[in-house]
């Protein structure tokens, strides 16, 4: 069965003053409708770039190779006009900080309606749909519509931005760091809202560095390190028994486990080594690890890990 959203061999490089920044290397993932994919990694690991490339929200100084397909249709060579229609209707983004994606000097009602209409709905349809969506998260369009962004709490802003993403009934929703800066109690609410989005049948991609959120959300998880996917598989399996040493060490750093940091630092994306990028910091490395880049090897549980320790299978 063709996956709804399929990324294959995606590589993204930025041409900057300091040199070429290899933000993503040969990434391949697939998401089915109703499925939840978590993209986890530290800042600079390539997770945001992966999400943005799916929507082709990239600056001018990039080189992209590989393929991103939505329902079988290749996205990377679509003309801008077609792409714009796709965004918002078939693919939607829930951006990182809700407040900054809303216009601070307009009342919410106006801008929400306008945004909905931009996705192809008539004014009446927009009003009805927005009312429905906001109602589902406990907000009243009439009350909220008359307010300005700064008059609402962070949690409310997040709910509005989530609702906005769903207006066009998209097939794919991408949430970029949905819990950055949120309180612990709001994290639970957000997790619930995200699962609800997934339950509607959309394919949900959640980018986050928050491991606790990831654990709560379940689904499948793709772990990124230094521009490469190093582990993919069911989230529950990852938290129970991570296969890749980076994943293992990362979980050890959780305060509720050992709170132990990983020595050293991730390599610079301008100077990626020609071998396993984690080798320098890996407690289990052997000779082969400092010679070539490992492929993604299959794991018994159905996942993949980019580690030579799992190569003999």
């Amino acid at each position: 069965m063709t996956a709804l959203l399929e990324v294959e061999g995606l590589s993204v490089a930025f041409r900057t003053r300091r040199g070429v920044v290899q933000a993503l290397s040969q990434a391949s993932v697939a998401v089915q409708p109703g499925q939840l994919l978590l993209v986890v990694g530290e800042s600079g690991s390539g997770k945001t770039v992966l999400a943005h490339t799916m929507l082709r929200l990239l600056p001018r100084n990039v080189d992209v190779s590989g393929s991103v397909r939505l329902g079988g249709q290749e996205l990377l060579d679509l003309p801008p006009g077609v792409l714009r229609r796709l965004r918002g209707r078939r693919m939607a983004l829930i951006p990182q900080s809700p407040a900054s994606s809303l216009n601070p000097v307009r009342r919410l009602g106006g801008q929400l309606l306008e945004a909905a209409q931009a996705r192809g709905l008539t004014k009446q349809q927009a009003r009805t749909r927005l009312r429905e969506l906001l109602d589902e998260v406990g907000l009243d369009l009439d009350v909220v519509g008359g307010r300005y962004v700064h008059q609402l709490s962070g949690g409310m802003q997040q709910r509005i931005v989530n609702a906005m993403a769903l207006v066009g009934a998209p097939d794919v929703v991408i949430a970029d760091e949905p819990t950055s800066g949120l309180d612990a109690d709001l994290v639970d609410t957000t997790a619930a809202q995200l699962r609800a989005i997934s339950a509607r049948g959309a394919a949900l991609v959640v980018i986050t560095h928050d491991l606790r959120l990831a654990q709560r959300l379940g689904g499948r998880l793709a772990l990124l390190y230094a521009s490469r996917i190093v582990e993919v598989g069911p989230t529950a399996a990852f938290f129970a028994a991570p296969a890749h040493p980076y994943g293992r060490e990362l979980l050890r750093a959780l305060p509720e486990r050992e709170g132990k940091s990983i020595p050293g630092m991730s390599p610079q994306l301008t100077a990626l080594p020609g071998h396993c990028a984690f080798a320098d910091r890996c407690p289990d490395r052997f000779d082969r690890c400092t010679q070539t880049v490992p492929d993604l090897y299959p794991l018994p549980g159905g996942g993949l890990a980019r580690c030579f320790a799992h190569a003999e299978r």
Partner: protein
């Protein structure tokens, strides 16, 4: 100011870095800016080296060749007493540019000073300074300048009075910009962190505020120079600015007006072209600079 060991090697590296950054920067300029910069540099160089570059003596009067149009001997023609116009324009440009630069510098210095004082001291001082700024800003540039010239020309002489006139009419806008920048800078956590580290106000201004302000201040200077050139020319044209023997482009233009009736179109045209060149080149560079200063306003996304 790098804290690494070896002051000599550090300063050499710093200079190397600076040169590298300069060449990198120039490489990134679009063609239009490079052309403008080239023309401006040539213009400024020619003006500054007027005594060397000019073909003839500035005061050489040749009554045999009065009011001759452009020719091989006199590329821009001659004026009503036979002086070579090209020579006059070069010398005039030097005077005009020098006075304009000095005037712009005065305006920028005053504006920065007021803006920094108002922005850092706040409170009543800020209020008072801003009201003073408003008073100056609400004056009509030109008429106010004329008033200042009339009042101060006897005491300061033509050049001095023109610098004062331009300086006092152009500092308010920069003062407001500097103050605005400072007010937003003060809100940023890194200023709080600097205070937390023990910085007093003077150190904040010197180490943190001024480096942030310099690009905007520099830009304001570049933008004020064409204004200053026009003002000076206008005042001199009216006879209020530089005296006739200190021929600036404005004085030459005034002569040109008289000669126009006699058919001498070149005397009015060439000084005007020189002024236009100065204004357009600085304008182009300033526009690019201004866009460059606020990269966050540029959308880099392929939308």
């Amino acid at each position: 100011m790098s804290a690494s060991s070896g002051t000599l090697s550090a300063s050499l590296r710093a200079r190397g870095r600076l040169w590298q950054r300069l060449t990198d920067a120039v490489g990134r300029w679009p063609a239009s800016v490079r052309v403008a910069a080239g023309v401006l540099v040539a213009l400024v160089a020619a003006a500054l080296l007027a005594s060397i570059v000019a073909p003839l003596d500035n005061t050489a009067v040749d009554l045999d060749r009065v009011l001759e149009g452009p020719s091989a001997a006199h590329l821009m023609g001659t004026d009503e007493v036979g002086r070579d116009l090209l020579t006059r324009v070069l010398h005039g440009a030097r005077i005009s540019l020098t006075i304009a630069a000095a005037a712009a510098l005065a305006a920028v210095a005053a504006g920065t000073l007021v803006g920094v004082l108002a922005g850092t001291l706040g409170g009543r001082i800020d209020a008072v300074l801003m009201r003073v700024t408003d008073v100056f800003a609400s004056q009509n540039h030109f008429l106010f300048g004329v008033l200042l010239l009339v009042l101060f020309r006897p005491a300061l002489g033509g050049a001095g009075a023109v610098m004062l006139a331009v300086g006092l009419t152009h500092w308010p806008s920069l003062a407001r910009i500097v103050r605005g920048e400072l007010m937003s800078l003060r809100e940023r956590p890194f200023v709080a962190a600097a205070v937390g580290g023990g910085a007093n106000r003077r150190r904040l201004v010197r180490r943190h505020y001024l480096p942030h302000l310099l690009p905007a201040v520099g830009l304001a200077f570049v933008l004020t120079v064409p204004h200053a050139i026009f003002h000076e020319s206008a005042y001199s044209f009216l006879g209020l600015g530089l005296p006739a023997h200190q021929a600036s482009l404005g004085n030459i233009l005034a002569d040109g007006q008289r000669s126009l009736l006699a058919g001498g179109w070149w005397i009015a045209l060439f000084p005007g072209l020189a002024m236009l060149a100065a204004a357009m080149t600085t304008g182009t560079i300033a526009e690019y600079w201004r866009e460059h200063l606020h990269p966050r306003w540029r959308s880099e996304l392929e939308l």
